[in-house]
């Protein structure tokens, strides 16, 4: 990862892009998941349709979205409708794949996006996070869920402080079904160092694919339980120039990948508009 050809965020976007299939309908949050979706459309999934929780179905991606309700999320959409309708369509099983971020994940793929207690409690936590948003709903109802988060200390934990979004719950056989959940649970956890999947029997997360230049011990040290390794551990290929180009084209002002630093490096609104219009082809 010391390689300066690409950033951690870019690598995560590229690895996530590979989880989409052509003609799928994807429920994708804002930020890197969206960049992954746009990247997939450039390669193996040109007919991927993206749905936003604000009520936008199948937009044309001329510009980047900064939030799910950005008017850009509606650009040239096939259908513009309501939030409650797209969540209900999710509950009907119309969406094939969902992508989710999280602050914490546990070994059964349960996610926390609500609060880091830090010895305190729900009403007064150490860190208040955004809450479920649509995350719980995606984890509850979508067939296949891809989780994206950085592999950093205290993020991969034995038990999440607050279980916002269901993975395989306590990992017991049929736990999701018993709880009344419809989706089949998390399919992959994409990080900046490796990709994890879940054992079909034990429902435990294991190391499936390691990224170039990363070693297993480095990963194990960051995971809060005794991590199992796939019998045939895969190594991810280096991102190609074409992939990196596609990821960067999907975020031309670097405001998604680059964050506050990128915002500050822009000369101002005029430059932002110029970049946006130029890249959109409009």
């Amino acid at each position: 990862m010391g390689d300066k050809r690409y950033s951690a965020s870019e690598l995560m976007a590229i690895m996530t892009a590979k989880e989409f299939r052509d003609w799928e309908v994807a429920f994708v949050g804002i930020g890197i998941p969206l960049v992954a979706g746009i990247t997939a459309k450039r390669f193996h999934a040109p007919n991927l349709n993206i749905v936003y929780e604000s009520g936008c179905i199948g937009p044309q991606k001329y510009r980047v979205d900064f939030n799910v309700g950005d008017s850009s999320a509606a650009d040239g959409a096939l259908c513009l409708t309501s939030e409650w309708r797209v969540f209900s369509d999710m509950q009907c099983g119309y969406y094939d794949v969902g992508v989710l971020g999280a602050a914490q994940v546990d070994k059964y793929g349960n996610l926390n996006t609500t609060a880091i207690f830090g010895g305190q409690d729900y009403q007064s936590p150490k860190v208040r996070l955004p809450g479920s948003g649509g995350g719980n709903d995606i984890g509850s109802n979508i067939g296949r869920v891809v989780v994206m988060l950085r592999l950093e200390p205290l993020r991969f934990v034995e038990k999440v402080d607050y279980l916002t979004t269901p993975g395989f719950l306590d990992g017991s056989p049929g736990a999701r079904k018993k709880a009344g959940l419809l989706g089949s649970g998390p399919a992959a956890v994409v990080t900046d160092k490796a990709l994890f999947r879940f054992d079909r029997q034990t429902r435990e997360m294991y190391l499936d694919t390691i990224y170039p230049g990363v070693n297993i011990e480095e990963i194990k040290a960051l995971v809060g339980w005794d991590l199992k390794i796939a019998p045939q551990l895969k190594t991810a290929p280096e991102p190609t120039d074409e992939e990196l180009e596609a990821v960067r084209a999907a975020d031309p002002a670097n405001l998604i990948m680059g964050g506050a630093a990128a915002r500050k490096s822009l000369a101002g609104l005029d430059e932002y508009i110029e970049i946006t219009v130029k890249n959109s082809g409009k």
Binding site: I30, G31, E53, S54, G55, C56, F66, N67, V68, G69, D70, S71, S72, A74, G76, L80, T81, S82, E83, W84, F87, M90, Q91, T114, Y122, Q123, S124, P125, R128, P130, G131, S132, G133, G134, G135, N136, D137, S140, N141, Y162, L163, T164, T165, L169, A175, R176, K178, G180, L181, G259, A260, R263, G268, L269, Y272, I273, T276, V277, S280, K282
Partner: protein
């Protein structure tokens, strides 16, 4: 229930907020991060209204402002984050440190709270949902009831109808009778307008009733759900308004940076809200040229017919 229907429900933002948004009332806002009711939130802060219960889905920008200004007592909702920009600074300060005061939290998922608005709009007491099952949302929120479906036996969750005292909803076009037309995504707005006891429509443009009749399919909220109609151009800035102006990501980023520090936030609030007599003065401070540029950007992508 809305007031009696009549030919002209138009009023100023000041009057509409004074009449319907009172200390201690419960409130919900239309939009979904885009098409947010920013101008109305500013006016609520200017009028010094306190102890609000905000019942909402994902309304970070408005909530962060209101919480930072000390207007909120309680929140029932799903999401308080800034999308690609980060966490919500005033909300974190309130929840983690009680500054300026501590808000009570009741967490829902977006689908869960959406069903509360749907139930409210149907005037049924609850809705079943398959969200939130098996999680700590249910553990900490006693109003979600798990039942066995009497038809097929599986576990489903029930959520109670939401009936906020007031809904404020920003739309692109409305007539003075109260018919409100929306382009782009619609969020939970049609349901919020019906679930609430009173509904204030703010809009970019007032149009004639004849114009409304030309596109009846675009009327998301009919007159009988509406108590007040207020024209507030650029009423969502720095959020986007589909067909009218794009998201001002840089302005929003600057707000976010300021809000990380309490004193800086208070200076921001003084400059843009308390130091501005009304929304027109806010637009002046933001800069009309800036607003025009955001409109120009949006209209390259989305244009509303007619």
């Amino acid at each position: 229930m809305t007031d009696r229907n009549n030919a002209n429900k138009q009023m100023s933002l000041k009057d509409a907020v004074r009449k319907y948004v009172t200390d201690g009332c419960s409130i919900t806002f239309g939009g979904f991060i885009g098409r947010d009711c920013v101008a109305a939130a500013h006016e609520i802060i200017r009028q010094g209204i306190k102890n609000l219960t905000v019942i909402d889905d994902s309304k970070t920008d408005v909530m962060d402002l209101l919480v930072g200004a000390g207007a909120v007592k309680r929140w029932e909702g799903a999401y308080l984050g800034y999308g690609a920009i980060g966490l919500a600074p005033n909300i974190r300060r309130s929840v983690e440190k009680g500054v300026p005061l501590k808000i009570e939290l009741e967490d829902w998922s977006n689908a869960g709270i959406s069903m509360r608005f749907l139930a409210g709009s149907l005037n049924v007491p609850f809705m079943p949902t398959r969200s939130m099952l098996g999680t700590d949302i249910v553990k900490y929120n006693q109003r979600i009831k798990l039942i066995e479906d009497p038809y097929e036996g599986a576990t489903v969750a029930l959520v109670p109808a939401a009936h906020p005292d007031v809904a404020v909803i920003h739309v692109q076009r409305a007539d003075v009778m109260g018919n409100a037309q929306v382009w782009g995504f619609t969020g939970n707005d049609e349901n919020k307008a019906r679930a609430a006891r009173h509904t204030i429509i703010t809009c970019e443009e007032i149009v004639s009733t004849e114009e409304i009749r030309r596109r009846g399919n675009m009327t998301l909220i009919p007159f009988y759900c509406v108590d007040a109609v207020v024209q507030v151009p650029y009423g969502c800035h720095p959020q986007s308004c589909y067909g009218y102006y794009a998201y001002d990501v840089l302005f929003c980023g600057e707000y976010h940076e300021s809000a990380k520090d309490r004193d800086n936030f208070l200076r921001w609030l003084d400059r843009y809200v308390l130091g501005a007599a009304d929304h027109l003065a806010y637009c002046e401070k933001v800069g009309w040229d800036r607003l025009q540029k955001l409109m120009g950007l949006e209209r390259r992508f989305n244009r509303i017919p007619g």
